[in-house]
């Protein structure tokens, strides 16, 4: 069966003008030659640090921002010619749940307002709102003011608003940012549920790697406006197989030592976090030997050495740092 692409972008470029003084602007390439296909029904993750270009790309795909160059289609509509059509067929949740939420209206009144704005047929409004309130676990809070419910609940309200009209594409821009672990977990659960229950294609941006790993069938890793890598997590892992990684547990480590290790020929990436030195290398045994010698020379006590499987975090670090090395 042929794969149906719901979004197709080809060599998209978007440059902003950044103010640099009085009447002086410098160009900033927010998106720099991005090509991307997203399949119908998948949960696709856009992964990247702040300023990587994730939100800009989402806005272009949602028809809220015009690209400077390149071509593309969303739901078969041209991104330049039919942006209005695109906009009325996609839903979006902004990174802050409070965007679009009126604190002077109850949870239910908020949904009633947006149901009319999004032109949900009158006879379906009550039923749909009731269904979404139940579906997202908001029913018992329907008469609460948004300010009196938790941030997680407010995020669910924002998601409920975006689901009022059953659009085929849902953009979630950092859906769990600002939420505590429990709230974030609950939102992730609902993202999966929405994808399955409504067959909605979900495109989410995040800088939480584990989140993308848990939710997404495919991810694109963005850095400095470019897509550095785009594939399933398994394939990204397999591509890394020419490399190995290991961790060394030790008490402390000087920044100078890490910097020196980074300069070694066979070390691809090296970082020290939570008493663990993590190294990606293309020559495992040689690098372990070299590293342990270097640590012993500085009288650093090694507690343990473990070789590890690649996580998405490793891939992310590799992909984003390789570029910087070049």
């Amino acid at each position: 069966m042929a794969i149906e692409n719901i979004i197709e972008l080809e060599n998209i470029v978007k440059t902003y003008k950044i103010k640099e003084g009085f009447r002086k602007f410098k160009p900033f390439n927010a998106i720099d030659g991005v090509s991307l296909n997203i399949e119908k029904g998948e949960i696709f993750g856009l992964l990247g640090t702040n300023g990587a270009g994730k939100t800009t790309l989402i806005k272009i795909m949602a028809g809220l921002l015009e690209a400077d160059k390149g071509s593309g289609k969303v739901l078969g509509y041209d991104i330049y010619e039919n942006h209005k059509k695109i906009r009325s067929n996609v839903s979006l949740v902004a990174p802050t749940a409070d965007v679009g939420t009126d604190n002077n209206l109850t949870v239910k009144q908020n949904l009633e307002f947006w149901a009319v704005v999004y032109n949900l047929p009158k006879e379906k409004r009550e039923e749909r709102i009731d269904y979404l309130l139940t579906f997202l676990g908001l029913k018992e809070y329907e008469n609460f003011w948004p300010m009196s419910i938790s941030a997680g609940m407010r995020q669910k309200l924002a998601i409920a608003r975006s689901l009022l009209v059953q659009n085929p594409i849902l953009f979630l821009d950092e859906p769990t940012v600002k939420l505590d672990a429990k709230g974030a977990e609950s939102i992730r659960k609902f993202i999966k549920k929405i994808n399955v229950e409504f067959n909605t294609t979900i495109i989410l941006t995040t800088h939480y790697i584990f989140e993308a790993e848990e939710l997404c069938s495919r991810v694109a890793i963005m850095n400095k406006g470019k897509i550095r890598s785009c594939d399933t997590i398994n394939n990204l892992r397999n591509n890394l197989e020419k490399y190995d990684s290991f961790t060394i547990k030790c008490e402390t480590l000087k920044a100078k030592t890490i910097e020196r290790l980074k300069l070694e020929e066979n070390i691809i990436e090296c970082n020290f976090k939570n008493n663990e030195l993590k190294i990606i290398t293309d020559k495992l045994e040689k690098t372990i030997d070299l590293t342990t010698r270097a640590l012993r020379k500085e009288n650093i006590q090694i507690e343990s050495i473990n070789t590890t499987e690649y996580s998405l975090e490793d891939i992310f670090i590799k992909v984003t740092t390789e570029e910087e090395k070049i």
């Binding site: 800009t56 802050t96 965007v99 209206l105 032109n119």
Partner: protein, 291 residues
């Protein structure tokens, strides 16, 4: 037809939302009534000062309280229609909701007009209250013999001031005036209108150059015609405005023609500029502050 219907339904929903918000602050509602009452009271006391003085209100009758109440009424309408679109667009931008409205099937204008309801609820009824307080407590008297014509003038005033308001609002995106200060509104509302609208005094007391400056705003013609029609003893034929002295038509007819011309120019221009501004913002990525 379906599209128009959904725009209308949305406007009704916006008005409901704004009413819920407005009425949820009860103290606010009481203060609102008292504010209108005291505004009218101030001008009643001013009218006592001018009583017996040889101030020439001709051709607008002799009742200063009625004169002022009509001035206040036009002020309230102008405050909303001309002054409100810009801050409302700013509110949509800073609140981050422009993107969400853009994703709806609504026209570009409906959300802006929708959020303006807060001021409509707040200001339009003040016109009725001012007329009421003036009549009941302070001796204002009205001649409603030409109610139809007065309504036409009021409608033209609403359209023309809203047109200028739209031009001002469009500057938010078109000229990137993202702060509170906005030159178009400042020039109209805070300079020309404040000086020459004639809310509190007849235009004839101003130096001639200012009278000429006043010829460029709709308030001048609306107030001239409304005062002639509604204040008892108002004269319908004597020409006092600079343009009335140049063009040989009956003053009220000329007022209506000029208001109609201003409406026909300002509203489509404001409409066009607003669309241009939104398109520019979509190109530049400045529809909301969320980037």
């Amino acid at each position: 037809m379906g599209k128009l219907r959904s725009e209308f339904d949305s406007l009704i929903m916006f008005s409901k939302r704004e009413y819920i918000i407005w009425s949820s602050y009860r103290m606010n509602a009481w203060m609102w009534v008292l504010d209108t009452f005291f505004n009218t009271t101030i001008f009643f006391f001013l009218s006592l000062v001018t009583k017996g003085a040889t101030i020439d209100f001709f051709p607008y009758g002799t009742n200063y309280v009625t004169f002022i109440v009509l001035g206040l009424s036009v002020y309230y309408i102008s405050f909303t229609n001309l002054g409100d679109p810009f801050p409302r667009v700013a509110r949509i931008y800073w609140g981050g909701t422009m993107d969400l409205y853009m994703l709806s099937p609504l026209s570009y204008f409906t959300p802006m007009m929708g959020v303006m309801y807060r001021s409509v609820i707040d200001d339009y009824p003040r016109v009725i209250l001012a007329l009421l307080f003036g009549g009941v407590f302070f001796g204002a008297s009205y001649n409603f013999g030409n109610l139809g014509l007065s309504m036409i003038l009021l409608t033209l005033l609403l359209i023309s001031t809203f047109g200028i308001g739209m031009i001002s609002a469009s500057s938010f995106y078109l000229f990137n005036f993202k702060q509170k200060a906005e030159p178009i509104r400042f020039i109209f509302q805070d300079i020309i209108i404040a000086l020459t609208a004639g809310y509190y005094y007849p235009l004839t007391v101003l130096p001639y150059p200012l009278q000429v400056l006043g010829s460029f705003i709709p308030h001048t013609y609306a107030l001239d015609a409304l005062r002639r029609l509604i204040i008892p003893g108002g004269n319908l034929y004597v020409k006092v405005l600079p343009l009335q002295k140049v063009i040989n038509i009956q003053p009220i007819t000329l007022d209506i023609i000029i208001l109609a011309i201003m409406s026909v120019i300002a509203l489509p221009l404001g409409w066009w500029m607003y669309i241009k501004g939104i398109k520019k913002a979509r190109r530049e990525g400045t529809l909301t502050r969320w980037q």
